[in-house]
């Protein structure tokens, strides 16, 4: 399979900081697969996504998205951030918000996504009135409307209840299998990681482990990082 993302010796540093947030991170990810990025807080997970998206320039190393530099591959990518910085007083309806990114209203693709993400009843509501879970579904719909080849999700279920989380992960899995989208998802939920991921990338400023869920479960670094939790979930797969 062709690699959709190839990261080589990636080093990233924020301008105001002296220390590296990511150091010599290398991995490749195949098309139509789901890669989960895991690691403790401050491990550089969001930084990795932002570097792939082209929001941050690497200090050293290379990133290619389908053979192109991130800045040249913007059209292929969609992103759902961990926390959407929404000014809740901004008077805009959900429909107007989606039309900013996807003006082709009433196309078959529009209807498919809206019904699949179940936001049809929300379209006329002000965006600022939505709950955390509803807003997250709207952001996923917006990301999907673009028909991305690569979807990046940064802890997309934070603020969503248990039932919502289950539905969300099933939706993500459906996007991969039915629409052939490659997905990179940052998550803290090991049970989900091990159930849905094709590949797991363990990060703690550098690459600790990388492989299929079965492979990484047996790696000492993974067990050190997640302790008892890794043993618990290791029995489930």
């Amino acid at each position: 399979m062709k690699p959709v993302v190839e990261v080589k010796n990636l080093c990233v540093k924020y301008p105001a900081s002296n220390s590296l947030i990511l150091q010599d991170v290398s991995f490749r990810m195949e098309e139509k697969s789901l890669a989960m990025v895991i690691g403790p807080n401050g491990a550089g997970k969001t930084t990795l996504l932002k570097a792939i998206l082209g929001f941050l320039s690497p200090l050293r190393g290379d990133i290619t998205i389908m053979g192109k530099k991130p800045q040249e591959a913007r059209e292929y990518m969609s992103y759902v951030p961990q926390r959407f910085q929404l000014d809740r007083s901004f008077p805009i309806t959900v429909k107007e918000f989606l039309l900013l990114s996807f003006p082709a209203l009433d196309s078959p693709h529009w209807h498919t996504i809206i019904s699949h993400v179940e936001i049809g009843s929300l379209l006329g509501l002000p965006l600022g009135n939505l709950s955390g879970g509803e807003l997250q579904r709207v952001l996923v719909a917006r990301a999907m409307l673009k028909k991305p080849r690569l979807l990046l999700l940064d802890e997309p279920v934070s603020g969503i209840d248990l039932e919502g989380k289950k539905n969300f992960y099933e939706l993500v899995n459906h996007m991969k299998t039915a629409h052939g989208i490659s997905i990179i998802m940052v998550s803290h939920q090991l049970d989900v990681v091990l159930k849905f991921a094709d590949r797991v990338i363990c990060l703690n400023r550098c690459l600790l482990c990388d492989g299929s869920p079965e492979e990484i479960m047996n790696q000492a670094t993974f067990r050190e990082l997640f302790g008892k939790e890794s043993i618990l979930y290791g029995h489930r797969i």
Binding site: Y79, F90, T93
Partner: protein, 274 residues
């Protein structure tokens, strides 16, 4: 004099035409300005343009053109300082604001005696509007409206979600630069009518009034435009009838509309809670 009679006065015709175009520009641009939290920018650029007005007065050239030039230069300065330094935006605007004012005061001191042109730019004066000013307002105003309408979706997306705008392939930095430049042009075009001290009020009052009751972006834009036009045209008529400075009366009319809408929306919310 009756309203029909007022409309036959040439200076009033110029004031109404210039006022209607300026109100449209300021109230439309104001929607994006308040959502981007750039209200202080309007005030800063209006005051900094005093440097250009002063040069125009001293050299005997229409101050509007030099005010436009200095506003564009100062705006470019704000834009680049914002990106190339870590100084907060409000501090940069404060720096440019006071620099332009100080430069203007120094230059105007070179010309002795009372300067009616300067006073009309400071506080607004409908009598001072020339056909050259009206023509400049209509031509440049059309350009500004074209820019805003053509890039309305892109500008809104940049304000709401810069990262998504980037992923949509928009030239975010170029659009932001032109957003700033056209904002400066809009403010300068309103100077003669409203004055340096008061012009930013029409940039802010119509959209914040409309925001009190708008639930959609479309409604916000239309309501802001209607409130802007009602404020400026209503203010012009009242200022003529009571023989008071136009800029001040226009701002007071706008403030009264804001207070009225605030009262009504507050009462409505209260009755819903009860």
């Amino acid at each position: 004099m009756e309203i029909g009679g007022i409309l036959t006065l040439p200076f009033m015709q110029k004031a109404l035409l210039g006022g209607a175009v300026s109100a449209f520009l300021l109230a439309l641009y104001g929607v994006f300005v308040i959502l981007k939290r750039l209200s202080f920018f309007g005030d800063g650029i209006a005051h900094a343009s005093l440097a250009g007005i002063a040069i125009g007065v001293v050299l005997g050239i229409n101050p509007l053109w030099l005010a436009l030039l200095t506003a564009v230069i100062f705006t470019s300065g704000i834009y680049f300082l914002e990106r190339k330094t870590t100084i907060p935006t409000d501090a940069i605007i404060g720096l440019i604001f006071t620099f332009g004012m100080a430069l203007g005061i120094l230059i105007i001191s070179l010309k002795r005696g009372y300067q009616p042109e300067l006073v009309s730019f400071l506080f607004g004066n409908i009598l001072s509007l020339s056909w050259e000013d009206i023509l400049a307002t209509v031509i440049l105003g059309t350009l500004v409206i074209f820019f805003l309408l053509a890039f309305r979706r892109s500008i809104t997306l940049i304000i709401l979600d810069r990262e998504e705008a980037y992923l949509q392939g928009l030239k975010v930095e170029i659009l932001e630069f032109f957003f700033y430049i056209f904002l400066a042009v809009t403010i300068v075009l309103g100077l003669k009518l409203l004055g340096i001290v008061l012009v930013s009020a029409i940039l802010i009052i119509p959209p914040i009034t409309a925001k009190l009751f708008s639930r959609s972006f479309r409604k916000l834009l239309i309501s802001s435009l209607l409130i802007g036009e009602a404020t400026v045209i209503g203010g012009l008529f009242i200022s003529y009838l009571v023989d008071a400075p136009s800029g001040a009366v226009i701002v007071l009319v706008g403030s009264a509309i804001f207070a009225g809408v605030l009262l009504i929306t507050s009462l409505q919310k209260r009755s819903i809670r009860l």
